[in-house]
C-alpha cells in the first residue's frame, strides 16, 4: 500500500472524476422535470455506480476518493449550488474513505458499500432546495391557512422526506455498486485490466 501520491494517482483521480461528473450531470439534467427530480437520488447512483466501481478498484490508498469529493464540491459550487454542498460532499467522501480503508482496498464488498456511501453527496444538491424553499413557501402560507396549520406541515414534511432521500441515495448506490461489480467481473477482469 503506497502512502505517497504519485502523478499516476492524481491523473486517475482527474479522469474518473471527469467521467463521474459528466454522467451525474446528464442524469441531473433529466432531474429538472419535476417528476424525475423526486427519484433522481435513486437513479443517478445506479448509473454512475458502474464507473465508480472501476475507479475504486484503482484506489489503493487513502485520499483519492476524498479529492474526488472535494473536486465535485468545487464544481458544484462554481456552477451555483450553495455552500452546504461542501459539507455533504466531504462528509460522503470521508465516510467512503473509511469504508474502503476497512476493506484494505482489496475487497469488492467494501467497494459496493463505498458506492452506496459516496452517493450521499447528492443529498447536498437537493437538500438546499428543501430547507430554504420550505421557509419562504410556508411563510407565504401563513396568511392563508394560519400559523398552526403551517407549524404542523413544517414538522411533518421534512423528516419523512429527508429520510426517504437518504434511503434512495443508499439504495441507489448499492444497486449501482452491484451492477458495477458485475461489469468489472464480466469485462475488466477478463480483459486483464483490473
Amino acid at each position: 500500500m503506497q502512502k505517497k501520491f504519485e502523478i499516476k494517482d492524481l491523473i486517475t483521480v482527474g479522469v474518473f472524476t471527469a467521467l463521474y461528473f459528466v454522467l451525474t450531470f446528464i442524469v441531473a439534467c433529466l432531474g429538472f422535470i419535476p417528476i424525475f427530480m423526486a427519484i433522481m437520488p435513486l437513479i443517478a447512483p445506479i448509473l454512475v455506480g458502474i464507473p465508480l466501481m472501476l475507479y475504486f478498484s484503482k484506489v489503493k490508498h487513502f485520499g483519492m476518493v476524498l479529492i474526488t469529493s472535494v473536486i465535485i464540491a468545487i464544481l458544484m459550487f462554481v456552477t451555483g449550488h450553495p455552500y452546504p454542498i461542501f459539507i455533504f460532499c466531504i462528509g460522503a467522501g470521508l465516510l467512503t474513505e473509511l469504508v474502503l480503508f476497512l476493506g484494505k482496498y482489496e475487497s469488492i464488498k467494501a467497494c459496493v458499500i463505498g458506492s452506496s456511501t459516496f452517493s450521499l453527496w447528492i443529498l447536498g444538491m437537493t437538500i438546499a432546495f428543501f430547507f430554504s424553499f420550505r421557509e419562504s413557501y410556508f411563510a407565504s402560507l401563513v396568511d392563508g391557512y394560519g400559523q398552526e396549520y403551517v407549524d404542523k406541515m413544517m414538522s411533518y414534511t421534512p423528516t419523512w422526506m429527508f429520510f426517504a432521500m437518504i434511503a434512495m441515495c443508499l439504495v441507489g448506490g448499492l444497486l449501482g455498486g452491484l451492477l458495477g461489480a458485475g461489469v468489472l467481473k464480466k469485462h475488466f477482469k477478463k480483459a486483464g485490466m483490473v
Partner: protein, 239 residues
Amino acid sequence: MDIGLQLTTEKTGLKIDPRTKIMILITVGIIMMSGKLTGVEYILRIICTFVPFVLLLSVRQFKSAFGYLFILLCVELCEGFIVPKTQGVLNLVIMIICGIISRFGPSYLCGWYVVKSTSVSEFVTAMDKMYFPKVITIPMSVMFRYFPTLKEEYSSIHDAMKMRGIGKTVKNPFVYIEYILVPIMMSTVQIANDLSAASLTKGLGAHKKRTHICDVRMKVFDVMLIVVLIAMLVIFFIF
C-alpha cells in the same frame, strides 16, 4: 524581438480576477439561499438577482443575459397572477418551480458566468495562487482536459454502434448502457495511463512551485468589487 504576436487572446469584455468571481459566487449564494422576503435582506436579494445579468452583459453574453431576464419576468408574472388562481397539485408544482428559479436562479447564472468567462489556465493559475494543494489542482486540470476527449470518444462509439446496427435490436436498456459505458471506461483507463506517462516525461510532479505564463492579477477594480461584496454580506448578517 517585436512582440506583435499575442500569445493568448484577451477574453472579450470585462476581466475580473477568478478569485473575485469566487467571492461573487459566495456572496450571492449566501444571500439568495437564506434571505427572507422582507426588509433590508429583500433589497439585497433584489440586487443579487440582477448581478448575473450585469455580469453576463459585461462579457457580451447577450443571449444568456436577456434569456435570464425573460425567465425571471415569467416567474414573477406566474407568482403574481397564475398562482392565486390555481389549486391543489398544480398550484404546488408551479409554486415549487417558481420558487426554485427565483431563489436559485441567480446563483446558477453566476456560475454560468464564471464558466463562460474563465479559461482553464486562468482557473488553474488562480487556484495555484490561492495555495490550493497540488493534489487538487492537478486532477482538476486533467479533468478539464478530459471532458472534450470524453465527448469525442462517445461520438466515435456511438457511430460504431450505429454502423453495426446495435441499439436498434437491443431491447434491454441495461445492455445498451453496457455497450456504451464499457468502451468508454476502457478508454478512460488507457488514457489515464498514456497521459501519466507523457506528463511525467514533461516534468510534472516537481516539488518546487511551477511557474505560469498566464497572468492572473488583482486589479483596483477587483479590490473595489470585493469591498462592495463584503459590505453586502456584513449588512446581510447584521440586519
